[in-house]
């Protein structure tokens, strides 16, 4: 068989692979129904709040020595995540899936089995939990960024995660990438660096205690 004939067949074969890839993306269902995710997030929030209230009502000190953030103001890193990747508001399911694939591909540093995505509903609840004032929440709510929580893979070093930060920033629809120490260094986390009115940008960071 000549190589020219094989090349013509290869063209048809690759065309079909590309068509299959496109149809797979087009019909890929969302991981969960939005309403189900919202209800689950609400239920989870109620459970968490209930647990925190129960802890607060216990006699004696309730400081968790393991979690350095548990005694401070609310933070997006309270879950113990090692990195948060914020996506721009309005990212489509396909775009979210694309970013997820990119994040999970870094299995040397990121635990792919613990990549958690908070959709719009869950992100709103997280913002409500973290933000200090109704004004801040009200400003952020219409354009709340969704987010991925990432956890370090076993054996991964902080340096590996720090190296990934600028690379994750290059991914499409990624608005910001934060590490826990970013919150400790800065008083606020810019949530909308590409929006026009910087002065009124809402933040997800804990309020300054000073």
């Amino acid at each position: 068989m000549t190589i020219d004939l094989l090349l013509r067949e290869a063209g048809e074969h690759v065309d079909r692979l590309a068509a299959n890839q496109r149809s797979a993306v087009a019909v890929r269902p969302p991981a969960h129904k939005p309403t189900a995710r919202l209800l689950a997030a609400c239920a989870l929030t109620v459970l968490v709040i209930g647990g925190l209230v129960a802890l607060a009502m216990r006699p004696g000190p309730s400081v968790d020595p393991v979690s350095p953030t548990s005694s401070g103001p609310p933070s997006v890193f309270d879950s113990g995540a090692d990195m948060i990747v914020f996506l721009k508001h309005g990212a489509s399911p396909e775009q979210v899936a694309f970013v997820r694939d990119a994040l999970t591909s870094q299995s040397d540093a990121i635990d792919p089995s613990r990549v958690e995505y908070l959709d719009v509903g869950a992100s709103l609840l997280e913002a409500r939990r973290v933000l200090a004032s109704d004004a801040e929440f009200g400003a952020l709510a219409p354009n709340v960024p969704t987010l991925f929580r990432l956890y370090a893979a076993p054996g991964a070093t902080a340096a590996q995660l720090d190296e990934l930060k600028p690379l994750f920033m290059l991914l499409p629809n990624v608005q910001d990438v934060r590490r826990p120490e970013d919150d400790q260094r800065a008083d606020s986390v810019p949530m909308s660096p590409d929006t026009t009115d910087v002065a009124t940008q809402p933040t997800l960071a804990p309020p300054s205690t000073s």
Binding site: E9, A10, E12, L17, A18, R22, A102, L171
Partner: protein
């Protein structure tokens, strides 16, 4: 030229070129994004001499940030050919060999030899001279023959 006419005339060629260069996943996604950008900016693109070449370069800029993330994946996923072919094993060997060409050689070889576009059409799309296309195709096919040890 209307955008629909442009997509009808050039859309498939742009997609094939990007898929040949970057693989099925990244190339396909980049083609979608490039055509979306072309739609948004069609008023300014329509008057260009070579809008297809411009949209192809948009696709390249869209694809580049993703290349690193898909570096460990196959450009053309392992899949048995669904159409009727004389020698499926030989076809898969060729696809694997295509992955080992340089991206420039692979796109030139596939556009010319697999899809039958002329050197002139490919040169316009890739924004290179016809002699460069000729050179890429010649070297690419020679390397394919070496990789496959096929002598037609």
């Amino acid at each position: 030229m209307q955008f629909g006419t442009f997509v009808h005339d050039h859309g498939e060629r742009i997609r094939r070129a990007l898929v040949a260069y970057y693989g099925v996943e990244v190339g396909g996604e980049a083609a979608d994004e490039a055509l979306a950008v072309a739609w948004e900016r069609w008023a300014s693109l329509a008057g260009m001499d070579n809008p297809a070449g411009y949209v192809y370069r948009i696709g390249q800029s869209k694809a580049r940030p993703h290349v690193r993330w898909f570096a460990r994946r196959r450009l053309f996923p392992d899949s048995e050919p669904v159409m009727s072919v004389a020698d499926p094993a030989a076809l898969l060997d060729l696809v694997r060999a295509l992955e080992r060409l340089s991206a420039d050689q692979r796109s030139a070889v596939m556009l010319v030899k697999s899809y039958g576009y002329s050197h002139r059409e490919v040169a316009a799309l890739l924004d290179v001279s016809e002699s460069v296309v000729n050179n890429l195709v010649h070297r690419g096919v020679t390397r394919l023959r070496t990789l496959l040890e096929v002598h037609s």
